[in-house]
């Protein structure tokens, strides 16, 4: 904005730093691999924590209770209270309005378009949207907060009383099977803070591009009783927010941050504390700023163990705020009760109440994109895709993979195929064959060179037995490598068309091979049937992969008399 230039320059001078500091890490790690790696790490970490905390076994005697607060950056073009554009990777301090920098005399101007992603999120989380909500100032002094307060919705939030249901497939802990329902107390709009960039040895630089970026805070009720389920809950919330296009980036890019509050109490006893109307809990502590799913789970495990150990040694849990660093095995105290901040909430005198119409909410409800669970069950029921693959498809590449598969189905239907019958095959080729090529060559899905039409035609040819499996793979590799020929041409040019071999032709090749390797044939007759595959492979090789593996196997069995 032109008229803030003078001030911005001044700030830029104070806080100058290399733009490389804020370049975001672009993750191209396939989802499955990420899951696997995290599971591996989790296992290792558990072992570590178990070793250090022998009393972990007594987890049986104690019940853990967890509530979560999730801060998610809304997918919004503008800031919450200024018309400045939001920015994630732009030049430092280039995206700020007067109000974002707290220039004297400037006032908050609520950007109405910001409401849409927030409302979509609240609806997707089954909340009651409040037709009147208000904004309050939460005061604290910190260098990343230029006004000395953050504008949030403390007294009258945007949405209340929602819930999210977590199932076995969401990765909840076995003791929570078949499902857990986690209540959502409220969803509120608020401002993000400036970004602090540490400049060793002891300079602290500030990038105000992030200040005023709209966030939603999702506060769950203390309805979670396992670290694994807590982590699954955060992941599920992220999936939901992504599916309704409420957030631009997930936890891996800093678009989502979580705080966890937790308490333990001995089973079959009633604690003295209550939080958000949930009675009978123990004294809780809060862990701030957890920035990965793994951090959520590990921090909760560590803090649970600390609380149990403290109580078993006759100690007392203090209501305090604690921190967690990735890779550590214990939480650290940040501030205790005496250091607690009194936020002195003040209804913001400049911002009128936010009034929404019932029609707007209804319209948004009807036009909401399908939620992950709905998409998953649709994939299973309409295309006979396995639960595992359906889940993966839904959460992969922010829905792009699913869009791609849908296009493949459309083309297959036009080519006269039954989508239900071909569902598994098509999903398999999209996820595993194509996915394998993408990850082997480190190509992100956005740059996928295989058009949906090409893949559909490959699958169609395979289904019509014009080509066989290995021919189909060859075709896919050719298209992936960037050939300009169409599928039909490729089949001819690379001689991939399968033809129907007569039973005699199978017998001729099979008997030739059995004569050539009599020793091996005898071993099979003696019971080493595993070696049969070797002969099948030889037949396939002899026919340049065009013979059918099953017929070849059957022929061999017949000739060997086994």
């Amino acid at each position: 904005m032109r008229h803030t230039t003078a001030v911005v320059n001044r700030i830029a001078r104070i806080v100058y730093s290399s733009p490389a500091c804020i370049r975001r890490h672009q993750s191209t790690l396939p989802f499955r691999k990420q899951l696997k790696d995290e599971a591996k790490l989790r296992k290792a970490q558990r072992g570590l924590i178990n070793d250090k905390n022998p009393e972990n076994d007594s987890g049986e005697d104690w019940e853990l209770t967890v509530g979560l607060e999730i801060h998610a950056q809304l997918n919004s073009e503008r800031k919450l209270f200024s018309s400045a554009l939001t920015s994630i990777t732009n030049e430092l301090n280039s995206h700020t309005g007067l109000f974002d920098l707290s220039i004297p005399g400037s006032q908050p101007l609520l950007q109405k378009t910001v409401l849409l992603p927030a409302l979509r999120a609240a609806i997707a989380l089954n909340c009651e949207i409040q037709l009147e909500s208000r904004f309050d100032r939460k005061h604290y002094f910190y260098h990343d907060q230029p006004a000395g307060y953050q504008i949030t919705q403390y007294y009258a939030p945007l949405a209340k009383n929602g819930h999210v249901v977590l199932t076995q497939e969401d990765g909840i802990a076995p003791e929570d099977y078949p499902e857990v329902r986690v209540g959502i107390k409220q969803v509120q709009l608020e401002q993000d803070t400036a970004k602090t960039i540490q400049q060793p040895p002891d300079d602290v630089l500030l990038d105000f591009n992030r200040v005023g970026h709209p966030l939603i805070e999702i506060i769950t009720l203390p309805h979670i009783h396992s670290p694994q389920t807590a982590s699954a809950c955060v992941r599920k919330l992220q999936d939901i927010l992504e599916s309704v296009n409420a957030v631009a980036t997930g936890m891996e890019l800093g678009g989502l941050r979580a705080d966890a509050n937790l308490s333990v109490q001995q089973r079959n006893t009633v604690g003295e504390c209550s939080y958000s109307g949930v009675l009978g809990l123990g004294q809780r502590t809060e862990i701030k700023n957890l920035s990965s799913f793994k951090a959520v789970e590990d921090a909760i495990i560590a803090e649970r163990n600390r609380q149990i150990q403290t109580l078993e040694q006759g100690g007392k849990i203090e209501g305090e705020t604690r921190g967690w660093t990735l890779g550590s095995t214990e939480t650290k105290k940040l501030r205790g009760k005496e250091g607690e901040v009194d936020y002195r909430y003040l209804p913001d005198p400049d911002i009128p109440p936010l009034l929404l119409s019932g029609e707007l909410i209804e319209h948004l409800k009807h036009t909401l994109p399908a939620l992950p669970d709905q998409q998953t069950s649709y994939l299973i029921s309409s295309f006979d895709i396995t639960m595992k693959d359906a889940k993966t498809l839904v959460s992969l590449d922010r829905g792009l993979r699913l869009d791609y598969l849908a296009e493949v189905f459309d083309i297959l239907a036009k080519l006269g195929h039954d989508s239900y019958k071909l569902g598994r095959t098509a999903s398999n080729w999209t996820l595993h064959e194509l996915g394998g090529l993408l990850s082997t060559h480190s190509v992100p899905f956005e740059a996928n060179p295989v058009s949906a039409r090409a893949l559909a035609e490959i699958i169609s040819n395979l289904q019509n037995e014009q080509i066989n499996g290995s021919g189909a793979k060859t075709l896919l590799s050719l298209v992936f490598a960037g050939t300009e020929r169409n599928i039909d041409q490729l089949i001819v040019e690379h001689n991939l068309k399968s033809r129907n071999f007569e039973a005699d032709e199978y017998r001729t090749i099979a008997s030739q091979l059995l004569e050539q390797y009599p020793k091996m044939a005898q071993e099979i007759r003696n019971g080493k049937t595993g070696k049969l595959q070797w002969f099948v492979g030889q037949i396939m090789r002899a026919s340049q992969g065009k013979m059918d593996a099953k017929t070849a196997t059957d022929t061999l069995i017949e000739l060997l008399g086994i």
């Binding site: 005399g105 002094f141 003040l346």
Partner: protein, 485 residues
């Protein structure tokens, strides 16, 4: 008289009354003269931009201007150059007005005598070292001593009206939301109102015509739709041949100086002689209004002033103490004045978790009953409040003194407790809490032939919300009634 000649006269008065310390910053005199000549040329060729074209207007220094620094008379904003111009100043410049400088005030608008200033106290400049009132004291004395034609001030709890009464000028606080606050540095947002000081009601009306209007940059600015509603509500005034003026019994507080009380009574008699009706009415919550104001305004101030940390603009601490891992405290301690600190502390307390319900929430409730009191006595309803209905027996306007006393000597203020200073706002605060349009009209003891030392007295005329034009029109009539001997 040409505009340039008027400007020369003002510049001369600027020198003559330099001791009043009305200005913290003057615009370059060469620029002022050149602008006046250009305006003269426009007027002589029939291209006058507006009735205020070429007029000298002074701006209270808590309103952002490009070209001149904006300091709020605070060391925390010493030398602060705003990157943008306030809407009110933009509108004045577009109408041809010449901004002649920035006027002195109580730091951030907190005070009743314009003495809490990093630029030094303001006085009447007549040798008696009299208070000019506050916080828009610089704006008031600049007008009174003819250093400018009119000035812009802000009124949060009486900050335009009290100085107008003390300096013998006309001071108008419009309805909340009439003039944009974009670029007005907040003291207490829900009360801060931009207003006008001048030497006649007619001049106020001309400046108001230019400065009023919706502004998308100010979320509390009245929309065009609401303005239309207010205009039609004002027309629905009960049909009566003459005015019905209300006198709130609760305003007759013991603190009112006997001479001021006499002038109030005699003014009412003149109103009756002019054929109008005067009725006694009751505003029961008035007694609580002052303490309510001193809970709400400091609460908002404590929040609004949190931004002055010396990091982004203004002054940082000269020797920050970093050992306690506290970055801002030293600078804020050094750069904010005692009264500002007092109100920040008050506000921080009333907003704290343990005091919020007993102080802040209670004060908000009282504020609502103050508004309801006013709605109950006026003939036309308050458009912004659904529960407010028309009252055929209601009054058109209220007439009360503006200040309970004559301007004190600055020397005597040293012995004032903060509480006594706050007492000077007892008559102005209720209308602020309700956001009503009020104008303080000056009169003098000698006009009424009283056997007392000569002195200025202000009487304020209060109207229903949005009834600004009616308040101004009636003030024009009253002006004549009060000035005729």
């Amino acid at each position: 008289m040409s505009l340039l000649a008027a400007v020369e006269a003002s510049l001369k008065h600027g020198t003559l009354y330099k001791a009043s310390n009305a200005f913290v910053q003057w615009t370059d005199a060469g620029y002022i003269r050149a602008a006046a000549s250009v305006a003269d040329k426009r007027c002589s060729t029939g291209h006058q931009l507006s009735p205020i074209d070429g007029r000298l207007i002074a701006i209270k220094d808590n309103i952002c201007t490009t070209g001149l620094p904006t300091t709020c008379a605070s060391n925390s904003l010493k030398g602060f150059q705003s990157p943008y111009e306030s809407t009110v100043v933009k509108k004045l410049r577009a109408a041809g007005a010449i901004i002649c400088g920035k006027t002195n005030l109580d730091e951030f608008g907190m005070g009743s005598h314009s003495t809490n200033s990093a630029s030094g106290a303001v006085n009447q400049g007549t040798g008696g070292e009299l208070s000019v009132g506050g916080s828009s004291g610089g704006s008031a004395i600049a007008v009174a001593s003819q250093q400018c034609w009119a000035s812009i001030g802000t009124d949060t709890g009486g900050s335009i009206r009290l100085p107008a009464a003390y300096t013998g000028t006309v001071g108008f606080k419009p309805s909340y939301g009439m003039i944009s606050r974009h670029g007005v540095i907040a003291y207490a947002n829900s009360l801060d109102t931009v207003g006008i000081l001048s030497r006649s009601v007619k001049d106020v009306q001309q400046v108001f015509a230019i400065t009023r209007g919706h502004d998308t940059w100010d979320p509390t600015s009245l929309t065009e739709e609401t303005r239309t509603k207010l205009t039609s509500a004002a027309k629905a005034r009960p049909r009566r041949p003459n005015l019905r003026i209300g006198v709130p019994v609760e305003y007759n507080v013991a603190e009112i100086n006997p001479t001021i009380r006499t002038i109030w009574q005699q003014a009412l008699e003149r109103v009756i002689s002019a054929g109008h009706e005067v009725v006694s009415i009751s505003l029961p919550s008035t007694r609580l209004a002052l303490s309510t104001y001193y809970v709400l305004a400091p609460a908002e101030a404590s929040s609004n002033l949190a931004k002055y940390d010396g990091v982004k603009y203004g002054n940082a601490a000269s020797k920050p103490k970093l050992e306690a891992n506290v970055l801002f405290a030293t600078g804020r301690g050094q750069n904010l004045g005692d009264e500002v600190k007092r109100r920040i502390l008050l506000g921080s307390f009333t907003l704290s978790a343990s005091a919020f319900d007993n102080y802040f929430l209670q004060a908000q409730k009282v504020r609502r009953s103050v508004q309801q009191d006013f709605n109950a006595v006026f003939g036309i309803p308050n458009v912004l409040q659904e529960s407010s209905a028309a009252n055929p027996e209601g009054v058109d306007l209220l007439l009360t003194p503006t200040a309970p006393s004559f301007p004190p000597k600055l020397a005597s203020l040293a012995h004032y407790t903060p509480l006594k200073s706050y007492g000077d706002d007892v008559l102005t605060v209720p209308a602020s809490l309700a956001g009503l349009p009020v104008i303080s009209i000056p009169t003098r003891t000698d006009t009424f032939g009283l056997d007392t030392p000569p002195g200025s007295v202000g009487l304020q005329l209060i109207g229903q919300y949005g009834n600004d034009d009616f308040v101004l029109d009636t003030a024009g009539q009253l002006e004549t009634l009060l000035w005729n001997r």
